[in-house]
Amino acid sequence: MLDALSDKFEKILKKLRGQGVLTEHNIGEALKEVRLALLEADVNFKIVKDFIERVRVKAVGQEVLQSLTPGHQVVKVVWDELCDMMGREKAGLALHSQPPTVVMMVGLQGAGKTTTCGKLGRLFKGQGKRVLLVAADPRRPAAGDQLSSLGRDLGIDVHRVDNAQATQADVVRICQAGVERGREQGFDLVVLDTGGRLHIDDALMGELVAVKTAVAPHEVLLVADAMTGQDAVTMATQFDQKVGLTGVILTKVEGDARGGAVLSIRAVTGKPIKFLGVGEKLDALEVFHPDRMASRILGM
């Protein structure tokens, strides 16, 4: 994919080979292509603007090297900048020395929280850890049944209150009881499956804050759909500001969405991307690789 991009820039910049420096003028066309690629990948337009500015500043004035073609040279600046933005820290989830590690999943409706709880459960069970999933969504019809069903398939315990009895008011209590049980029964990992909600729903956002205050989770992970558009910025900012995130899991990545939202989310929260969801099945979870994601976002 990167080669395609280089080729494209090559055509635009071929006149430059071995002569002079990259200037505002001679890289303008190439940067226009980059802008288009990023916008079509759903990177937020303000972030695109800043990005192009930074690339321009870095590229302009660079001598056109004999060893590199100008196209490659611009691609390299773009590429490095993208990888920097995406974060170079280690992805994945580390369990704490003092069990249980408590992970809280949050996000918009239908993002993939419940399914991802199952995926995390499967991953850590496979490493010999004891996992407890907590059904903390009494609102969505059959959300508890969904988690129970995943738990059953995986042979993982699910903590839940009888569907008919649980109400919204019980969410904090359910999470507390789940974490308590995790501690008492020697679980290594407790994953809280909260219900989907809008970042502008103050009552439901307040509920997440109350859960967080009550159980002090080690991780609060935003589960976000790879297909998300420009709204990713608003959504992620508000989840981070109101609840406080420690990381992000991007779902539905196996499709053909270019996934630029991940760049936006990363840029506004600064929080690491921990995993990628790459399918509906419970083994479809991958570790995030910034370089692969950069290629995908630029893919032309």
Binding site: R35, L36, L39, E40, A41, D42, F45, K46, L108, Q109, G110, A111, G112, T114, G118, R139, R140, P141, A142, A143, D145, Q146, L147, S148, S149, L150, D153, L198, H199, I200, D225, M227, T228, G229, Q230, D231, T234, M235, K252, E254, G255, D256, A257, R258, G260, A261, E280
Partner: protein
């Protein structure tokens, strides 16, 4: 002031609004070119006038999106009227079925739901909970059963029980998964065998939060199953669903309904003017 060109700052503001609403850079570039060409003279100095030029253009592009309402189709259509819901994962198919059922019941009709998602954990239970709340029946098989067989039974049951509308749920699937798209084709075939001419409406559910990928979804679902209408959900958030403009432009599919919340009454008919106003940041109407 004749021949005056619009203030770049004003243009930039409009462009920002459109990009933020997910219209997509190509559509936005085209619209902005149009505005630059058409806003001259006095209009050019007034940002409201510029927005009006844009709104009128959007209105034209969206003309094919404002089609008949689902109720009108049902009114004119055969009995039972069969609706198939399709779409990628988690967009709101099942919830929308419940909302439609509720509206039909209130309108004095007898809908029957069909639990055609036999794949996702507790998808059948989810539909059942909604059906119980709305007070309608569900035709269901076991988890893991053949979805086409459930659809077939649903239509047979609807005929036997004199239900007037059949709402068939399907499992979420990415448009890129050819085996799952093929499965939809099979469901379609079997429905046609159970009732020639059915399904009478194939609704693709799109999530307003989704960006440019929604166009690829619409293209592919239209190509494979012949989508006849769209439902745009989650418009109660801050996402505007502007990609519908690109979809209207290219595929001319009508938006039948919009989802504005998780509750069963949070369903509205699509309204072009309200939609355009919301694209520029005016809050979307809530029921």
């Amino acid at each position: 002031v004749l021949g005056r060109t619009p203030d770049p700052a004003m243009l930039e503001e409009l462009e920002a609004a459109l990009l933020t609403a997910d219209l997509g850079v190509r559509v936005v570039d085209r619209l902005m070119t149009h505005v630059r060409e058409h806003a001259r003279g006095a209009d050019a100095a007034n940002s409201e006038a510029l927005q009006n030029v844009l709104s009128r253009t959007l209105y034209d592009v969206l003309a094919p999106v404002q089609g008949a309402s689902l109720e009108q189709l049902i009114e004119k259509g055969p009995k039972p009227f069969v609706v198939l819901m399709v779409g990628v994962n988690g967009v709101g198919k099942t919830t929308t079925i419940a909302k439609i059922a509720q509206r039909l019941v209130q309108g004095g009709r007898r809908p029957l739901l069909v639990a055609g998602d036999t794949f996702r954990a507790a998808a059948i239970d989810q539909l059942q909970v909604w059906a119980d709340r709305v007070g309608v029946d569900v035709i269901r098989h076991r988890h893991g059963a053949d979805p086409a067989a459930v659809a077939f039974d649903g239509i047979v049951a609807a005929k036997a029980r004199a239900a007037d509308v059949v709402l068939i749920d399907t499992a979420g699937r990415l448009h890129t998964k050819s085996n799952l798209m093929e499965e939809l084709r099979k469901i379609l075939r079997v429905i046609g065998q159970a009732l020639p001419g059915a399904p009478h409406e194939i609704l693709l559910v799109l999530d307003a939060t989704v960006g440019q990928n929604a166009l690829a979804q619409a293209r592919q679902f239209k190509e494979v199953v012949g989508v006849t209408g769209l439902v745009l959900t989650k418009l109660d958030g801050t996402a505007r669903g502007g990609i519908v403009v690109a979809i209207a432009d290219e595929l001319k599919l009508p938006v039948r309904l919009i989802g504005v919340g998780e509750a069963v009454e949070d369903l509205q008919d699509f309204n072009q003017e309200a939609f355009i106003a919301a694209l520029f940041g005016q809050p979307a109407a809530r029921s």
